[in-house]
């Protein structure tokens, strides 16, 4: 049998020939990226809590959308940088975003269904 090295090499070659390694580029973010991300996350968190303590903002129509957007931003940053989805194989992106979409859809649908019940009863009674 051939040596492990050449085996590995052959396998990789065979894979590359089929385009399997496409998207599997494994460039890692650097330490400084991690620190920058942490700073951004902290800033966003501070902004969120600050929003909470501004009564006029809490009362405005923007309160909920802004908070949702900020938390989605944080969510995305952690997933992309700390969980390396930005750099990792596209397969992982698919494995995560697919279920995430179904989950978000389910939450939204459920909230619609339960909110809707109250409205409908109001119409009918």
């Amino acid at each position: 049998m051939t040596s492990p090295e050449s085996h590995h090499g052959q396998t990789a070659a065979a894979l590359a020939a089929q385009g399997h390694l496409e998207g599997a580029v494994h460039e890692h973010p650097t330490w400084s990226t991690y620190w920058k991300v942490a700073t951004i996350l902290t800033v966003i968190t501070v902004a969120e809590v600050w929003c909470y303590y501004v009564p006029s903002f809490v009362a405005s129509v923007w309160f909920v959308p802004v908070l949702l957007a900020l938390s989605a931003l944080k969510f995305g940053i952690v997933v992309l940088f700390y969980m390396h989805l930005k750099y990792d194989h596209k397969l992982f992106r698919a494995l995560f975003t697919g279920p995430l979409i179904v989950a978000m859809f389910t939450i939204v649908a459920l909230l619609f269904l339960f909110g809707k019940v109250a409205v409908r009863l109001g119409l009918l009674s």
């Binding site: 049998m1 859809f105 809707k116 409908r120």
Partner: protein
């Protein structure tokens, strides 16, 4: 050309080696598939027996063969058993047996996790099934609607067994789901592109995603119910302002994908059987793939069609009605593609193909009645009547089970090396077809003529007597037919005619290796050139139009670990048409062992079994805490937790298989899945 997987007509490996402990500790996907198959068949008899008792009660009005309580436990357990302990595990049997063989792998990605799934299933199945013997069986329906299932209305242990049992079974399905997702993504042989995967593997792939996305939802719904029952939370407590629709929505967010979890594997099996017995590739393969994915995806957007009568309002009714109708389109596409697979073919009527054709015919009826209650106003006259019972029995019996029966007749020789008896098989098929139609077709009428579901008795003079009598007669015919199947399976397990590698002249990868396959499946990982690689070899002139890379574009290395793996031989009578249905008695030839070939095989280990046992003991302890004296309960719970943690620790810290002969490769390739 020298390297061979194995000789064509190896003598079947008789599974006498190792005895009980080898089964308890097996991590071989084929053996686990075997265990799944026979356990699920046992539960099929159990759940079928429950149906027989119910049909005896309902054969005529105002019968008292069963009490209300007994009947309610029976219909609850009939549903629970058939869904969670029969159809899902029968599908799991085929996932286990077939997925690695069809994609050219030596096992699943996590063999021990696979064993764990099976043991959790077996023990959880016993946990949930046995109480009915003691008249303490679950009695809230398989759907378990709150608040009936809360302690206010169901104070006994009945519902506790159900809640805990379903949690346990969910663990089994989820573990298997992660396992097969990884297996199918990552263990396909070179050349096995996604669009070359056999349709069964494709449907299995879709189903695993449905499982891992749907089961967490029922897990949470059950956790709420468990907390309500054991810790006094308020999730379904009406006085606290709870909304019973929360349970219904969570349940059906799981429950509808579950329907596709039950039926897609059968679709996959039929998509294997029909091409083989038509001697023609599956018609419209890409469309079949996309329709399967679409069914799975849309399956998450239709759940509330189980709830058209709860008063969701016109907008929700409209949305869910329309999405439900949409799902009929990919389903219809599948039906037509199956028919056109046979069109222009050379259709041989073996038991397997007859069951597959039976699925096409019966599922069509279930699909049409499904469209009938996708229309919410029409559904208001149909829901919770026997019309719905008729509908889902056409889907789950005429669909899932007939597909799985087709799979059993088709793949039993691959699993055991022995063919099932075709004569008995045809008795089974015809009795099954006649019996199931006699049982389920009249239910359309009894339902639309006003008979509610889940009633243990009905009054005379309601116009339901004849239909119920017909249903009962049909049910007993089906029961008898099922006994024929089980007899056939048991008798021919070791004594049936020898199958040979490819008794049906099929085209997919699993038929290129001996039956039963050697423990390592493939002596060398094969290179796949098309959707029907075996047909590429046996009838290259016919497969020219199949999208595939040409054979011979690949360097062919010589020996397997320096061992001659056997001889190639293609007897003239091995051409599929001639071989059909004829058991081929082959001269015994030796299949080289894994050691000879230098293939590492996972150790036999009972750690997954004990880990699974720990989970069951934990839930048993939880139920014991309902006693006056809570100490024994908590003690048993702690014992179970200790077994679980200990089992897991030893499992995760012990190696899966002997170090590979190229141990050095591990360091170089850290991605090799070594643990599990």
């Amino acid at each position: 050309m020298a390297t061979l997987a194995a000789p064509a007509f190896a003598a079947p490996i008789e599974r006498s080696d190792g005895g009980f402990l080898s089964w308890l500790g097996t991590t071989d996907h084929k053996r686990i598939g075997y265990l799944y198959l026979f356990t699920a068949t046992g539960f099929l008899l159990w759940g079928g027996g429950e149906a027989m008792l119910m049909r005896w009660q309902l054969r005529a009005p105002n019968q008292h063969f069963l009490s209300a309580e007994q009947y309610n436990q029976l219909f609850t357990m009939h549903g629970t058993t058939m869904i969670f302990l029969v159809v899902m595990p029968l599908s799991a049997a085929f996932f286990n047996l077939l997925v690695p063989l069809q994609i050219g792998a030596r096992d699943v990605a996590f063999p021990r996790l696979n064993a764990f799934s099976y043991w959790v299933y077996l023990l959880g199945g016993l946990f949930i099934s046995v109480p009915i013997i003691f008249n303490a069986g679950p009695n809230g329906g398989w759907f378990g609607y709150a608040p009936l299932t809360t302690t206010t209305y169901s104070p006994g242990l009945n519902i506790d067994f159900w809640v805990a049992g379903l949690q346990i079974l969910g663990i089994s399905s989820l573990a298997a789901g992660f396992n097969f997702i990884t297996t199918i993504i990552n263990m396909r042989a070179p050349g096995m592109n996604l669009m070359r995967m056999p349709m069964f593997t494709w449907m299995a792939f879709v189903v695993q995603f449905l499982i891992v996305l749907a089961f967490p939802v029922i897990t949470i719904a059950l956790v709420f119910l468990l907390f309500d029952r054991f810790f006094g939370t308020n999730f379904y407590e009406i006085a606290a302002g709870a909304d019973p629709l929360l349970w219904q929505h969570l349940f059906w967010i799981f429950g509808h994908p579950e329907v596709y979890i039950l039926v897609l594997p059968a679709f996959g099996l039929v998509s294997e059987v029909l091409p083989t017995f038509s001697q023609k590739p599956l018609f419209g393969y890409p469309v079949m793939v996309y329709s399967g994915i679409l069914i799975g995806f849309l399956g998450f957007g239709v759940w509330a069609h189980h709830m058209f009568a709860v008063g969701m309002g016109p907008i929700a009714d409209t949305v869910f009605g329309v999405t439900t109708m949409l799902i009929a389109i990919p389903t219809g596409v599948k039906i037509f593609n199956w028919i056109f697979t046979m069109w222009g073919g050379s259709v041989r009527f073996t038991t397997a193909s007859m069951f597959a054709i039976g699925l096409v015919a019966m599922f069509t009826i279930g699909g049409i009645s499904g469209v009938m209650h996708s229309s919410p106003p029409a559904d208001l006259q149909q829901t919770d009547t026997y019309f719905v019972v008729a509908h889902f029995h056409y889907v789950l019996f005429g669909g899932s089970l007939m597909g799985l029966f087709a799979g059993i007749y088709y793949y039993y020789p691959k699993l055991t090396g022995h063919l099932l008896d075709e004569g008995l098989g045809k008795w089974h098929f015809w009795l099954n077809l006649i019996g199931s139609n006699l049982a389920f077709f009249p239910m359309h009428f009894s339902g639309l003529l006003g008979m509610p579901r889940r009633i243990y008795t009905y009054d005379a003079n309601q116009g339901w007597d004849t239909f119920n009598l017909l249903s009962s007669i049909g049910a007993f015919i089906v029961g008898f037919a099922t006994l024929i199947l089980v007899y056939n399976m048991l008798v021919n397990r070791k004594r049936g005619r020898l199958a040979g590698n490819n008794p049906w002249g099929a085209g997919t990868l699993e038929w290129s290796i001996p039956s039963p396959p050697p423990v390592y499946n493939f002596a060398e990982i094969p290179r796949v050139t098309s959707r029907y690689p075996v047909w590429d070899l046996t009838a290259p002139e016919l497969t020219a139009a199949v999208p595939h890379t040409l054979r011979g574009d690949e360097m062919v290395t010589a020996q397997v670990g320096g061992v001659s793996a056997g001889q190639m031989s293609v007897p003239a009578d091995r051409r599929p048409a001639a071989a059909a249905g004829a058991g081929l008695h082959a001269p015994p030839a030796r299949v080289p062992s894994a050691e000879e070939l230098g293939i590492p095989i996972p150790y036999t280990t009972t750690k997954p079994f004990f880990t699974a046992l720990g989970i069951i003991v934990m839930f048993g302890g939880l139920l014991l805490t309902r006693m006056e004296n809570k100490i024994p309960g908590w003690a048993v719970l702690a014992l179970g937790a200790a077994t679980l943690v200990g089992g897991l620790y030893w499992w995760l810290t012990s190696p899966l298989e002997p170090e590979h002969e190229h141990a050095g490769a591990h360091g170089a390739a850290p991605h090799h899945a070594h643990a599990h």
